[in-house]
Each structure stands twice: as structure tokens, then as C-alpha cells.
């Protein structure tokens, strides 16, 4: 089912990748006055980038609010209680559900995430450092005295593989941001707008209502929306997680395990092992399509796993196969499409040169996803597919890269009977990624922001 889409009313970073805007700063705020807060939104409104913007923009600004923020801005109780439980709780309160324990315990998070005070976040993206500074300066200058900036803000910058500006990588050295859902909607009567990369010609498009409130979802229903609907329509929920990547730890583990791997499967190397854990070669070529690192360069999202039921090509428990099982579960992908996410992550921190010892500097990924239902989408993926393996016949083995490992993590790399390749059992997987902050936000539409600014959010 297709839906008409009001691009001018939807915030830009939801449906736009901002691919050319590889610098970013996330500025955190708290308001001490609902009245001043609303004045600030009114002042910011003309600067907010919408989904109608084209690829020519040099900078973009977007905004999102926590539940505490919506309350601080004076939304009526009758509206606040209609927001979903997960959003009301906030990410910190749901740490146990999400596997944020031990190293990832919220009590160890960076500031300002570990305090209760965060009300809203302004996300600024730009094509250059100069344009980033100009835009951020304006954002901060517009804020009245009652709006307090919570320090530190979060800098972020995309990393590119070998200077190739079209291929972003993350700190473990693998291409990232390659897979986003192909969304079913109509704009100006033609299907010409895509939110990120195409997900494959043989795969179903995902209903718009899975990502934007007020539209039919994969169940052909318009999902529950906070009231009043005029406020929440064209908005969505944003999940932010600051994920520190233990790069030296990852490289050391891969090197160590690869020594045993090479004895069992001659001809393999550390890159092979890392690719099996992730599901793609470093340049993004999917294992499901290409089995040798010698013939990479086929970066693609046009693949599935139906022809690889035992994981001989891409292991059943590999990271990308867990994050998006595609056609693994049959039913024409209808089960999987209830748990898709729009991903807008960006790296932070300087890369650690290959061969360098751990310098203990902050580096990782600012994981940003948009979804219309936090519990059914983000939390489901985190709990059922990342921190558990039952759906993939992996028992309770966790995602090898993102899982909350305790040094005893395991991953089975299936063999291939056709080739006579034996399986390999990765053991002693440590935690490679630690959560250092995060929260749940609501990203209102432009209409919603105007209603907030004018105290127009009413349920009666």
C-alpha cells in the first residue's frame, strides 16, 4: 500500500541520509522555563531542515525531545500519558532489557547521558568544519537564558575508506550505513524518493507507517499515536546510543582466533574471520554473494539468505544477518519487516592506526535509528536478535560484534559440506562495544514543532 507523503512537514534526517554532510555536532539542552523553551523552538523553526531538502544543502539542523523534555515544555498530562511506555521510561530505565549491564551500565555513561536532565537535542550536520561551526553558533545564539546547554556536546565525523568519499566505514574497518529499508510511499504521484539505499529488487518495500506516525504500517493499520494526532502525525521516535568501540581489543581477538582458524581451515586469514563475524567483507561486499576476499568490490544490498539456510556463506549468527534477517524467516519477509529500522549512525573519535596499541581514546559510533514503535522495532532487535540467538538457531549466543559479551561469548561459523570446509567455533568473545550513553527521543513534524511553540498542543 502506498501513502502520500508531506515531505515539507517531516524532519530531514529521518528520510534523508545527508550523505555529503559528513561533519556533525549533537548539542544537548535543558529548559528551565516552558515559555522560554517554546520561544526557542519558534526561533529555531526556520532553521529546521525538512525532507523536502535536496542533495545540494551544505548544512542541516534537526531537533528531538525526550519525554522529560516534552513535559518541561508544558505538554498537557493528557497528551503525555498517551506516549508509549518505553519512551516514557527512557533508555536508562530499560538498561536491563537492553543488555546495558557491567561495562555498559548507565551509571558509567558519559555526561550528559548519565544525568536525568536532558530535555532536547539539536542535531547539526554540515559539509565542512567551517559550515558546522557557523550553523552551531547560530543554534546556540538563538537560545534564551533559560535554555541551558548541557556539556559536553558530541562531535561526530564520518570516516572514509582510503579516501573514498562514497564509502563510510566504522572504527573496526568495515563499511557501514549500507542497508536501509526501501520505503513504500508516493511523493508527487511518483515513486522517486528513497530513504537510503535500495534494499533489493526482489524484496518487499516496507510500509511507511513503520517509520513515520500517521500512516499505514506493515499490519495495514495506522499504529497507536500520541494525542493530539495533529501534534504526533509525521513525527517519529529516535533512538540514540553512543557506542564506544574497543578497536584494539577487537583486532587482538581477531588475530588470536585467526591463528587457530588457519590450522582448521587453511587459506583463511584474520580478514576472513572478521568478515564471517560481520557478514560482509570490509568494503561492504556481502558474504551471501561473494565468498572470497579476492573478488570483492560488489557492494550491494540486493541479496537474501534463502539460498543459504545453514549459513555456509553468511553465518546464521553474523551481525548483519541478525540486524536484518531479510528473507530468512519466509512469509515473504513480512515478519522481518515489522522490525526494520532507519539507521543514521555516524562515527566519532579519531581512528586508531592499524598496529597501534590501545590509546584509550574515545571512539565509536553514534547509533541513531528512527522507528514508529520503539518496543516492536529497536528494542525487539536489541533483545531478540542481538542479545539472543534463539531465532537463528544459535541458542543464547549473542551478536559477535554488538552483543553484551562477558569474555565467554561464542559464535559458530558453519562449515560448507559442498566444499568440505569444517565449522569453526569462536570462543571467549569479549565485549567489543560498550554503551556510553543514549536515550529515546520524539522527533516531531514541523507542524508539531509549531504547535509546541504556540502552546497549541491540546487534547480537548
Amino acid at each position: 500500500m502506498s501513502a502520500m507523503l508531506e515531505l515539507h512537514d517531516i524532519q530531514g534526517n529521518i528520510l534523508r541520509e545527508y550523505g555529503s554532510l559528513h561533519q556533525a555536532r549533537f548539542i544537548f539542552f535543558r529548559t528551565r522555563s516552558a515559555v522560554q523553551g517554546r520561544r526557542y523552538i519558534e526561533a529555531l523553526l526556520p532553521t529546521i531542515t525538512t525532507a523536502k531538502s535536496g542533495d545540494e544543502i551544505r548544512a542541516a539542523t534537526n531537533i528531538a525531545f525526550t519525554f522529560a523534555g516534552l513535559r518541561a515544555f508544558g505538554l498537557p498530562t493528557s497528551s503525555l500519558v498517551s506516549f508509549p511506555t518505553a519512551f516514557q521510561d527512557g533508555m536508562r530505565a530499560r538498561a536491563l532489557l537492553l543488555g546495558d549491564v557491567e561495562e555498559s551500565d548507565p551509571r558509567s555513561w558519559d555526561r550528559p547521558w548519565r544525568s536525568e536532565a536532558l530535555h532536547f537535542m539539536v542535531m547539526v550536520y554540515a559539509a565542512s568544519r567551517m559550515e558546522l561551526e557557523q550553523t552551531c553558533r547560530k543554534v546556540v545564539q538563538l537560545a534564551p537564558d533559560e535554555i541551558e546547554e548541557l556539556r559536553p556536546h558530541q562531535e561526530a565525523e564520518a570516516i572514509f575508506a582510503n579516501g573514498n568519499r562514497s564509502l563510510r566505514i566504522e572504527h573496526f574497518g568495515f563499511a557501514e550505513g549500507l542497508s536501509n529499508p526501501h520505503i513504500d510511499f508516493l511523493a508527487n504521484g511518483m515513486r522517486q524518493f528513497r530513504a537510503g539505499d535500495v534494499d533489493g529488487r526482489d524484496h518487499r518495500m516496507v510500509a511507511l507507517g513503520e517509520f513515520i506516525l500517521g500512516y499505514p504500517d506493515e499490519g495495514s493499520e495506522i499504529g497507536a499515536m500520541p494525542v493530539p494526532h495533529a501534534f504526533s502525525r509525521n513525527g517519529t521516535y529516535l533512538v540514540v546510543r553512543k557506542l564506544h568501540q574497543h578497536v584494539a581489543r577487537f583486532r587482538h581477538f581477531i588475530e588470536q582466533q585467526a591463528t587457530l582458524l588457519q590450522r582448521i581451515i587453511p587459506g583463511t586469514d584474520p580478514t576472513y574471520l572478521a568478515a564471517k563475524m560481520i557478514g560482509r567483507w570490509p568494503d561492504g561486499t556481502p558474504l551471501a554473494k561473494v565468498t572470497s576476499s579476492a573478488i570483492t568490490g560488489h557492494i550491494s544490498n540486493e541479496f537474501g539468505y534463502a539460498d543459504d539456510p545453514e549459513g555456509a556463506l553468511c553465518p546464521l549468527g553474523a551481525h548483519i544477518r541478525r540486524a536484518n534477517p531479510r528473507d530468512s524467516f519466509g512469509f515473504d519477509e513480512r515478519l522481518v519487516n515489522r522490525h526494520r529500522l532507519i539507521r543514521r549512525g555516524i562515527t566519532y573519535g579519531a581512528p586508531l592506526p592499524v598496529g597501534s596499541p590501545d590509546d584509550h581514546m574515545p571512539r565509536g559510533l553514534l547509533f541513531l535509528v528512527f522507528n514508529a514503535d520503539i518496543e516492536r522495532q529497536f528494542e525487539f532487535v536489541q533483545r531478540q536478535w542481538i542479545n539472543d540467538g534463539d531465532k537463528f538457531r544459535q541458542g543464547n549466543d549473542r551478536d559477535p560484534i554488538l552483543g553484551s559479551h562477558d569474555g565467554l561469548g561464542r559464535m559458530v561459523i558453519p562449515g560448507d559440506e559442498r566444499e568440505g570446509r569444517p565449522p569453526f567455533f569462536c570462543t571467549g568473545i569479549p565485549r567489543f562495544v560498550t554503551a556510553k550513553g543514549g536515550d529515546y527521543f520524539f522527533a516531531p513534524s514541523l507542524t508539531g514543532l509549531r504547535l509546541m511553540a504556540s502552546s497549541g498542543v491540546r487534547t480537548t
Partner: protein, 198 residues
Amino acid sequence: MSNLNGNIYGYTGLFPIKRDVDCSVLRADLRSLDSHPFGSPLSSIDIVHTARLVIIDRLPFQGEPAKYDTLTSAYLLFACNFDGSDIEELVTAIATTIPDTFRSLWGRCVAVPAVSPDPAARAELIEYFRRCQIRTTLFLVDQPGTTVKQILRSLALTRRFAAFVEQHQGEDPSIVQQRFEDMWQAFTAAPSPSPGSW
């Protein structure tokens, strides 16, 4: 009978909580059960597969145009799968094995009978559980013909075998075969694990 599947009985009961009981305190007490050395005091009852205790004291607000709805009482929900054919077996096991835990939790419920070895008192307690039982129309379990003891032994074997595979991958087949024989002999001679012991 719709509560039985194979040799497993599925019981769900709703027990009204006394009005003067602070449900937040009861919730905290339920959460503290996790600190038991074997995961739960119910681990002492070797016929229990799974058990769940939930406090229901408010209904969710459904949003406009719904109104706020309330309950006439808070409830303690107890859902339990156990080896057996009648709830008499479960109630007897709870009353004889963990009477103090029972008094601590159910003691806050309305009209709960005393826990006592006296046959008449025991019969009253069983009848209380029957009165609070919710009718089941469909009961599914993944392993209907398997007891708690059998499942624990299977889990122990799975764990032992997985460790064996990890330890000996890549070794010469003749060595692997000998080590497997050793592992198997040791496993079959070992006692079955008790609930919550690992």
C-alpha cells in the same frame, strides 16, 4: 483436559491482594527472589518447570477517547508449569518445601488459608488455589513428554558437549574419539544437576 499437555500441567491463578498491602513493597519483595542462590526459592520444588509472579494493580491508559479504568482489587498472578496432573501436587509441594516463602508472598492475599500439615488445612489450601484458578482453554508446551529432571540432564549434556567441541576442534580424529569416550563415561556417571544449580 485443557490444562494438561503430556505430563505437564499449566496453572494460572489470580489472587486478590489485601487492600492494606503496599504493592510497591510486594513488587520489591518479588524482585528480591532473584537473589536466591539457585535463582528462585521455587528451584527447591523439582517438579516446577517455570513459574511467573506478576502484580496487576493498574490498567494501561488506552488514550482518547478511552477513560481511565480501575480495578476493584490488586491481584497477584501466579502462572506455573509443573510435572503432574492436578494442582494438588503443586500446592502440596509448595506447602511442604517452601512454607515460609509461601506465607511471605501469599500471606498478603485475601482469605488465604494457613499453611499446615493438617489434612483439612491442606485440603482448604488446595481448594483456595482451585477457586483462584483461571480457566485455561489452550495450553502449549515445547516438550510435553519431558520432566524437569530429564530437561536438566539434557541441558547439562548440551553444555558439556559444546565445551568438548570448542576444546578439541582441530585435533587429530583419533584423539577426539578417545576424548569423547572419556567425556561420555564421565557424564553418564555424574549425578543430574539440580534446578538452578548452574
